[in-house]
């Protein structure tokens, strides 16, 4: 078991940051995590988003949340990206690899990866 002392150290590091973080987070990533999403592989996609957001140092600007069935089960794992003042982007049939790419190019770089969006899906 890892030590609780390490956890206390994390708490002390985070204390100052929390005040800044509240109210910011202008980008929201929402992942469908109902039976359909989970069966299609949403859990590793969520993990990949969390890892990539931390790795790219975007944790202060980005909030990752889970939701229930979005209603398009055949396209799961489905991920929605909400950015202040912009239209919602819906990514379908996501994989951990695509998640890392979305964080790097869209969330960080600002360029929507249209080839992975629902509009591009020809199914």
């Amino acid at each position: 078991m890892k030590s609780l002392a390490e956890l206390a150290a994390i708490r002390d590091r985070m204390k100052d940051k929390i005040a800044i973080r509240e109210g910011s987070g202008d980008i929201r990533i929402v992942i469908g995590m109902a039976t359909c999403g989970i069966a299609a592989g949403a859990r590793p996609v969520l993990s990949a988003f969390m890892e990539a957001v931390s790795r790219e140092g975007l944790a202060d600007r980005v909030t990752i949340t889970q939701t229930g069935c979005i209603g398009i089960c055949q396209y799961e794992p489905v991920v929605e990206v909400y950015t202040d003042g912009q239209e919602k982007v819906t990514y379908v049939k996501m994989t951990p690899e695509r998640a890392a790419e979305v964080v790097q190019k869209h969330i960080k770089g600002g360029a929507v990866l249209t080839e992975y969006t629902i509009d591009a899906s020809n199914l």
């Binding site: 890892k2 994390i10 995590m33 039976t35 859990r43 949340t65």
Partner: protein, 182 residues
């Protein structure tokens, strides 16, 4: 589902929807058998609803009339020579309301679905529902992997459980415990 841990994630999600404030996930494993129990203090189900819950066309969802989570798990358990049991006490009749789901599996069956990555399931639950008390225990022979979010919260104070650094700690803590299982 490719892993039992995905079923556990899915079933715990039902507890969340039932407004549970505490969810216990308990896994007991021997050489030949695996049993897991998900117990919550949510609003529970009425006896009538409980009778229909293994039917794929029973769901509390209003957007669509199909719910597959429990039927899929029942199939996975029964295919491997195991079983699924659910007991529930509805809030309208019981002050100590809640639901307990217990599934067991014969690990030697060719149709046994492996448990898979429980660390990731636990982290996913904490990420999505940092305000709920999760008590996770996995006992396999002489080995134990466990996590109690109430203990973590005592250390963390105001820092939320779904802070990325905290989730990293949780994941490596569980992975470390699981490393000894092998």
């Amino acid at each position: 589902m490719k892993e039992l841990s995905l079923h556990i994630l899915d079933i715990a999600e039902n507890s969340v929807r039932a407004n549970a404030t505490r969810i216990d996930i308990d896994i007991r494993e021997t050489e030949h058998r695996l049993t897991f129990t998900v117990r919550d203090n949510g609003h529970g189900m009425t006896e009538d609803f409980l009778r229909t819950v293994i039917d794929p066309f029973a769901t509390t969802r209003t957007t669509r009339s199909v719910g597959l989570g429990i039927p899929l798990l029942k199939l996975a358990a029964e295919q491997s020579g195991g079983s699924l049991r659910i007991t529930s006490r509805h809030i309208s009749e019981h002050p100590d309301h809640g639901t307990t789901l217990c599934a067991d599996f014969d690990k030697t069956s060719i149709d046994y679905v492996p448990l898979g990555n429980m660390a990731e399931t636990v982290c996913t639950l904490l990420q999505g529902r940092p305000q709920i008390d999760f008590v996770f225990t996995h006992i396999c022979g002489a080995h134990t992997a466990e996590l109690d979010t109430r203990e973590l919260r005592q250390v963390l104070g105001d820092v939320p459980l779904n802070t990325p650094e905290v989730l990293d700690w949780v994941k490596s803590s569980l992975c470390e415990a699981y490393h000894n299982f092998k």
